[in-house]
């Protein structure tokens, strides 16, 4: 049983490190901020969770804390990438790609920022 759990831990560590590596390669290679967020979101969700799964299964370390940390990572990973993407859109970072429904539907935050700048110019 211990041997089986140790094999699970080895596989989890290797897979987690591989996904982290893929995330960094994506962070270096991909063309713009929004596509890079896809790659770096994967480091937290896959890399961290798989390493913690190894820590929970392979050893007799605190199982409860590991499970809480896994749940926390799964919750806060998307929240962080959504916050950064929203900030990037509001700051006005350009986006690669043809189809953009956000611009077609009248950019929500972009309009608001433009309005604020107009007010500053009026004042």
């Amino acid at each position: 049983m211990t041997t089986f759990l140790q094999i699970v831990a080895i596989v989890a560590v290797i897979a987690g490190t591989f996904f982290s590596l893929v995330g960094v390669v994506g962070y270096v290679r991909l063309p713009d901020v929004y596509t890079r967020l896809h790659a770096t979101g994967k480091v937290g969700v896959f890399g961290g969770v798989l390493l913690l799964a190894a820590a929970v299964s392979g050893t007799s370390l605190s199982i409860g804390k590991g499970l809480v940390l896994i749940a926390l990572l799964l919750i806060i990973g998307p929240v962080t990438s959504h916050a950064i993407a929203s900030a990037a859109y509001r700051v006005g970072i350009p986006m690669v790609g043809q189809r953009n429904d956000l611009q077609r539907d009248g950019a929500l935050a972009g309009q608001r920022l433009a309005g604020e700048q107009g007010q500053v110019q009026d004042g």
């Binding site: 996904f19 893929v22 390669v25 994506g26 290679r29 991909l30 063309p31 713009d32 929004y34 596509t35 967020l37 896809h38 790659a39 979101g41 994967k42 969700v45 896959f46 605190s62 199982i63 409860g64 804390k65 499970l67 809480v68 799964l74 919750i75 990973g77 998307p78 929240v79 990438s81 959504h82 993407a85 929203s86 859109y89 986006m95 690669v96 790609g97 043809q98 189809r99 953009n100 429904d101 956000l102 611009q103 539907d105 929500l108 935050a109």
Partner: protein, 159 residues
Amino acid sequence: MHYLVVILPLWLLYLLLTGNGEVSNLIVGLVLAVGAAALLRPLPRPIIWRRVPGALLAAVQYVGVLLWDLARSGIQVTRIVLSPKLSIEPGVVAIPSGCASELATALSAHAITVTPGEMVVEIDADGVMYTHCLRVDAAAEYVARAQTMRRDLLQRIFV
């Protein structure tokens, strides 16, 4: 009765973090959870006990579908990033969430963002989620189809 919805998860969280099953620790955790719930004052929400087993079943199914999506699109994004040609065509797609409550909309936005390859950039007042995809044409209809299934599950969870 709606205080129970806050007290039980907080108590469970305390017990998981301390990792200690003695009676004194259980009592301290319960006191802390009740105190936190009294400070939080959750809004009254009627619990329909007849629907609870169905909602739990739907929640398990939701988590299962989420994990399957996670593994599937993780491998897909790995293939995209590691391929030498880097064949991406990013873009933004508007996907209506179709959920009545704001909590259900937030949960569907979370489920879309946690899968690699799709990410919600903005949500407008009507609950339309503007989703950034790595491959627009392939992802657009898949995400819309997954969203209808997710909406049905969420409606069963939140009664």
